[in-house]
Symmetry: C2
């Protein structure tokens, strides 16, 4: 009875994790402001309940009573994930878990104030505290001889090692810098401009979401400050935001979150860990694939242009070619979340480099702002005017999220690998995208990725899906072909 | 350290109860349909967590370590409530708790189908099962010599006894029947009619809610099938519904739920049991007070008539007098939830009488429909045409809620007691209501009721607030005066 008992325990823990996710969704999307204080107590208590369940001594007993050799790959993975979760819950002392939660909460508050004041020095003590605690956490989690950064990275990208990611991600840099420099000499395409009512944006966002396969019977869309996707199985909610001067923000946020949501709606089981998403990198590959390879394709502009024209009663752009150019404008800027496809991974490379040095101690927090600005100049050719446009722009480090950034670039790399393989399987894909009847594309992703859960490690899953060991080459090829044509390089 | 440990445990349990409440709100107000199956697992797992906490053996140890004589009334009540919750969790075997939850869920499903088919016999087996389990629950909970119905009633109206409620509630009957009969001979006032757009109804509902003191910074309003109020402290959400042929449904549902919400927003602490609402009867007194004594007063019609006129661009009624008559139309009908103030408590008396007999076994489920119809004829003078308009109209018994109905009438009785006392303290109250500047009314209720939590039993709380032992006389006086004037009796 060890396996059924374990699986039942895992299922109930996953149900409670879903409740915790709902509390976060509610807080961002619909909670009244004065609910914040109670919500903090609610979330904290629920987190403690889940933590106690994860480290329940019976889990170790059940695992010990299971003969792994007799299990299929799915249940073996369930047992391995149970062990992984049990280890994380028991290796980290509760004192450390509480201090980390508190430091993250204080870090986030301090960061927001420092960013508003454009003053990195205000954030230094909180960041030092976060790094100190993360180092302690890494030393609790790391196996003998394991790099401490890898112990943190593993929480987002199971099994990944910085030593493997480094050459993979760095192989992007020369092509991206060369592309950026060549494009800088070319005239910029006309941007979209005008006034775009929020309600018309939301109507079009819903229409796009439906057309590319999002199931509103198993989800909903709301507006928030920072869009995200929440939930899985039969209840996967997306969020977006509207800016009446720029409808592309709303529309492409929506497509991005729908990419995440399609993965979550396609999970083979809503509760078991082996059926959960493979890794953050694979999750991001799904959102990026729909956002960029589908949403920013020339074919999609053929569908989107008339749809936008109708939704907003006219556009300042003269047909799908102009819209395609406008949604793919390349512009060197300071902010990661606003970056185009050429610049995006350069932003990630910078952060990946700096956070490894922060965790290992080869870079001191006191020197971080200068290091950021120097390396930004190296990669982007620009002087950072103030910390809010530089080292203070992202929330991640304030929350203690070290090892998270590289999963964004992994997502871009994996999405290009999948794109290449899918095109080989599906030569008429452009025709589908042109009419936004993309069900075969979704079916392909469901078959190759969504239905596979977490049974394989991410690189193996991508290799199984594409027939090739994942490299950065498909992404480089895709970007060079796309932007050479767009900018006549 | 026993008291701080106990209070911390109670606070965390209350936080988890709030999460359970949020799951219900979400399910009714915003959850996508395909989320239902996972939600059931989420709610069930959370209920099991809360149940295990409530019966945690440490609770008994902490209570045993506390010297009650040294506590103030508030903390003594916290300890008593902890004991009460502990007893309920430990006296009911988990097998019975699970079977009751299952029977309630199945009962609700069977009831809905039977009601749709207007066929009581379809519901009989499920109702028998619910009653059997409730009898078993009552025998687990009852103290030696305690009436078993009282053990169930106590869950909604702590400390109440049917032997006390019976004369209190029955004392209403002669006056209500006499009023009903006298009004039946009089011409009915003109009803409101027209088309009332849902969005205009919601805008006006929000305006009314704000005017009578509901804090939207600590709440929100959504539409659902059956309106309710959820949460407490800084997050109290109300719900309503719209019927484009009848805006009074939306508006008076809103005022009713705001009445509940003002009580919950005014709780002295969001987590501790001694700060929780006193009883269901007292809760209902708050919703009924705002709905009837304020919302259906002649003075409020002076404010509401122009507000409705503006919201809907004209009405078929000719001024506040006509609106006052229309919102107080007396009409003998079959459905409790649609009943006017004259008929409402007659509906409750019928259910209170029948459910006591069902629990004691002096009435068999097989004979229930006939008993309902016979006694309905006795009290209302009408033949029940089918079970959906009779014994199958309410959800309560299908969910195993026995002992709940009398709290509705207690609410009406208490609201009239409070009304009488408030008028004595506040002779210019009509002036405030006329302009919907009702803050002094809310302040009075905050002072006398909301701030008092659950420290006193309900009758003592009302006596402390009004200076009189609560009786049905203020309600009888209020109804006779109001409807004699309205119907020229």
């Amino acid at each position: 009875m060890s396996l059924p008992n374990l699986l039942n325990h895992l299922k109930q823990s996953a149900a409670l994790e879903q409740v915790a996710g709902l509390l976060s969704w509610d807080q961002e999307a619909v909670m009244p402001p004065r609910g914040a204080e109670q919500r903090s107590e609610q979330s904290g208590t629920l987190a403690a309940v889940i933590h106690a369940r994860n480290g329940d001594p019976r889990v170790a007993e059940w695992i010990a009573g299971i003969d792994r050799a007799n299990l299929d790959a799915f249940d073996r993975r369930n047992v391995d994930e149970a062990q992984r979760t049990y280890d994380q819950a028991t290796k980290i002392p509760s004192r450390l878990a509480e201090e980390s939660a508190k430091a993250a909460s204080e870090g986030q508050r301090t960061w927001a104030a420092a960013r508003a004041a454009k003053d990195f020095s205000q954030f230094v003590p909180a960041l030092k505290r976060n790094i100190e605690l993360k180092r302690e956490e890494a030393s609790c989690l790391a196996d003998a001889g394991q790099d401490h950064y890898d112990a943190l990275l593993d929480q987002f990208e199971p099994g990944a090692r910085a030593a493997d990611l480094l050459p993979l991600l760095e192989s992007l840099r020369p092509s991206l810098v060369a592309l950026r420099e060549k494009i800088a000499d070319k005239p910029a395409p006309l941007p979209l401009s005008g006034h775009f009512p929020a309600s018309a944006q939301m109507n079009l966002a819903k229409k796009i979401a439906t057309r590319i396969g999002y199931d509103f019977e198993a989800g909903r869309i709301d507006t928030v400050v920072h869009p995200f996707c929440s939930g899985n199985g039969g209840d996967v909610r997306i969020t977006t935001r509207t800016d009446e001067a720029d409808p592309l923000n709303c529309l492409y946020s929506t497509v991005h979150e729908v990419g995440h949501a399609l993965y979550a709606q396609g999970a083979p089981d809503p509760f078991l860990p082996a059926a959960d998403y493979c890794s953050m990198g694979v999750h991001e590959s799904q959102s990026r694939f729909w956002e960029n390879q589908v949403g920013r394709s020339r074919a999609f502009a053929d569908w989107l242009y008339p749809a936008m024209n109708e939704a907003f009663g006219g556009l300042n752009l003269d047909g799908p070619d102009d819209l395609y150019a406008a949604v793919n404008r390349v512009e060197t800027g300071f902010i990661r979340t606003e970056a185009d496809e050429v610049h995006y991974n350069l932003h990630i490379l910078l952060r990946f480099e700096l956070e490894r040095e922060l965790v290992s101690g080869t870079l001191e927090v006191d020197d971080l702002e200068e290091a950021w600005n120097t390396r930004f100049k190296r990669d982007f050719g620009l002087d950072v005017p103030d910390a809010s446009l530089g080292v203070l722009q992202d929330v991640h480090w304030s929350l203690g999220l070290f090892g998270y950034f590289p999963t964004y670039s992994l997502g871009n790399i994996y999405s290009a690998c999948l794109d290449q393989a899918m095109l080989a399987d599906m030569p008429d894909r452009e025709v589908m995208i042109r009419s936004a009847t993309t069900q075969p594309i979704l079916d392909w992703l469901r078959d190759k990725i969504h239905s596979k859960g977490r049974v394989l490690p991410a690189p193996d899953l991508i290799e199984q899906a594409t027939g090739e060991v994942p490299t950065a080459q498909p992404l480089i090829d895709y970007l060079e072909a796309k932007f050479s044509a767009l900018y006549d390089l």
